[in-house]
Amino acid sequence: MQDEAEVKPPVRSDGLQLEENRAFQRWFWMAERIGWAGFAVVIALALSGVTGRGGWLAVAEHRSGAALVEVPRVARRGESTVLRVHFGRTGGRHLLAVGADLLAHFDMLEVTPRPVRSVAAGGGLALQFESAGPPPHGVRLHLRARRAGIAEARIVADGAGVTVRSLILP
């Protein structure tokens, strides 16, 4: 327990009885300005897409054989996001296999267009799509991040595989 003398602030030469601690204030004013720079950094990161939901860094593109896979670099837990696959091969059926780890981190809300066949394969999913006309043929997987962490998964598009990573923020 502190005694009374310790608790009482000192009386200054101008008669004010308060503990100002100018050295601490100078330190804090500096810290405050560093904090403001931190605010600017957070805003810049958010605008660039590092925190998810839009921005030029938000999507990572992976070439997988003739297909192009667009994966969200950063997702937010509980929020929906889209994984796009652009098949480059002409005509016929396209096959897309999604690894188990992706499904462990994301709920699959919807697949556009609807696959003609879907098979549970090794914890993941194998989807088959019809296509017509000249490529590219785009497929969108609407996902919702289920838990925070790093989702690393293998995506195989028309036989060519690529490993994708997505950071899920809490």
Binding site: L16, L18, N21, Q25, W29, E32, G78, P170
Partner: protein, 156 residues
């Protein structure tokens, strides 16, 4: 479990952001400051509750916020240095009639704010009628008039 983490995280983010925003922000609450507060409250609402709008979740969040606040008050009582970091210390911006321009500039307080406070609280007309002015921890400006200057500010 999730609700507790959400509440603690939001509490800490708000504590750091409001502290770093500085006392000046809330020193004189304007209509816009009030609107800003409402927006911040609305923004934190979703982060606190997520998609669970049950009474149970709301109760857990409220209890967690109150518990963290009480816990922090104990920590502040135990460590005066930490209390100083969290709450800050008062800044004397006028001492013995001498204006500390550095303190005013760094705390983002305008001399007009000091004069307004002197007019409102003591009816003082001029700066030279002020003996001391202190920017308090809560953001208010306390004015101590020079001897004989109190009340109406008609003298001098």
């Amino acid at each position: 479990m999730d609700s507790v983490f959400r509440a603690v995280a939001v509490y800490l983010v708000l504590l750091v952001v409001t502290r770093l925003s500085g006392r000046r922000t809330l020193a004189e609450v304007t209509v816009f400051d009030f609107v800003l507060l409402l927006i911040i409250a609305e923004t934190t609402d979703q982060a606190l509750l997520g998609d669970d709008f049950s009474v149970t979740n709301a109760a857990i969040v409220i209890v967690t916020l109150a518990a963290v606040d009480v816990g922090l008050s104990f920590v502040k009582a135990w460590s005066p240095k930490l209390a100083m970091v969290i709450d800050g210390t008062p800044s004397v911006v006028i001492s013995g009639g001498v204006v500390d321009w550095e303190a005013l500039r760094r705390a983002r307080v305008d001399i007009e704010d000091v004069l307004a406070s002197a007019r409102e609280k003591h009816g003082l007309k001029r700066l030279d009628q002020i003996d001391c002015a202190v920017l308090e921890v809560g953001g208010a400006i306390s004015i101590i008039p020079k001897a004989g200057q109190e009340g109406g500010g008609t003298q001098g």
